[in-house]
Assembly symmetry: C2
Homo-oligomer: 205 residues x 2
């Protein structure tokens, strides 16, 4: 991630911290390294964030505030439930792409060794996203947009598509699934499960 020269010290500190926490781990990163990478002095970090814990929690809050906006906005959309689902998945993936460095850090904290990072309730956000998708799937089933009513399994298929897109972006951005790629995958899922089925070529065996 390149630092634009006009970035504020506040923003530069957040970016530097997220990169260091990912690469060296939370416990392996010092305040000295963060300020050096951000090109500021220690008092600047103390002023904005109080300490290492403060900058970590701010990274989390900043990102999950955006998730909250996504979660509260998505249900006001018009259109079919499948369109809402597609829109929600696209917006969630876009949010992820725009915050990829912080997401990388979250994966590192989530799957990596325990490092004494302050507790942050990732899990409840994970669940909220999952529940939002589930609700939209339920709506699609209720509105008779799917040919099958397996809410549970359909939700997992959609979550799987998003998670594979996210993980390929994290590890192999070069052969990454971009927004259009995820859309193609979701379209195929919905085409398969939806009532457009009769339009396929050669449905007779």
């Amino acid at each position: 991630m390149t630092l634009k020269s006009e970035s504020s010290a506040h923003q530069r500190l957040l970016i530097a911290a997220s990169e260091l926490f990912t690469r060296k781990g939370y416990s392996g990163t010092t305040v000295r390294e963060i300020v050096a990478a951000a090109g500021v002095t220690k008092p600047v970090l103390y002023y904005y964030f109080r300490n290492k814990e403060g900058i970590y929690l701010e990274l989390m809050r900043e990102t999950f505030d955006k998730v909250d906006v996504l979660l509260s906005s998505s249900f006001n959309e018009n259109g079919s439930a499948i369109q809402k689902l597609k829109h929600f998945c696209d917006q969630a993936f876009l949010l992820f792409l725009e915050n990829i460095q912080v997401v990388r850090m979250m994966y590192s904290i989530y799957y990596g060794p325990h490092q004494g990072a302050p507790f942050f309730d990732f899990e409840s956000y994970n669940l909220k996203i999952q529940q939002s998708i589930r609700k939209l799937v339920e709506e699609a089933v209720r509105r008779d947009e799917f040919s099958i009513g397996n809410v549970e399994e359909i939700t997992w298929i959609i979550l799987g598509a998003i998670s594979v897109a996210v993980e390929v972006q994290l590890v192999h951005p070069e052969r990454g699934i971009n927004r259009e790629g995820l859309e193609r995958i979701l379209d195929l899922i919905f085409q398969g499960l939806g009532k457009g089925a009769q339009k396929w070529k050669g449905v007779r065996r």
Copy 2:
């Protein structure tokens, strides 16, 4: 994971090491901690594995040898390509479940901070599994078992289902997707994409 009393010292060392590497990280784990957790003396570890690096590499090799067996065996199956796909996914997931502690360690090394663990080429195995699935999808398309020919997207959908099942098992085994759960998800995917579509209820809009 409970240690059966009849486990050999060799096996107890491997289990203890995988648990410590996951929880404390590779660099954060000492030989002294491994032997203490396994209930053996240092010379026993040196005898079997030479050093910490040796025990780590043995964990990897042992697991990926099983992946190699899976990869070479799966294509001899009879039946439709979709049946082979289902069988391959089930066997891959079973292998994962039987080695969950090592897989947890791999996630920790893969996504966690860099910790100086010796290089192991996870990636090539990831790719091999992906390619096996892709080949079977191609076969299913060629044999006209799918109504659509998007090999790329179908492969991602299947990989997503497996990865979501694996990750739920890693983090929330209690609401985990077991083998039957993954089978239901895959069945739904194949039902959607396959030519069984005409048998669905109410395909007319």
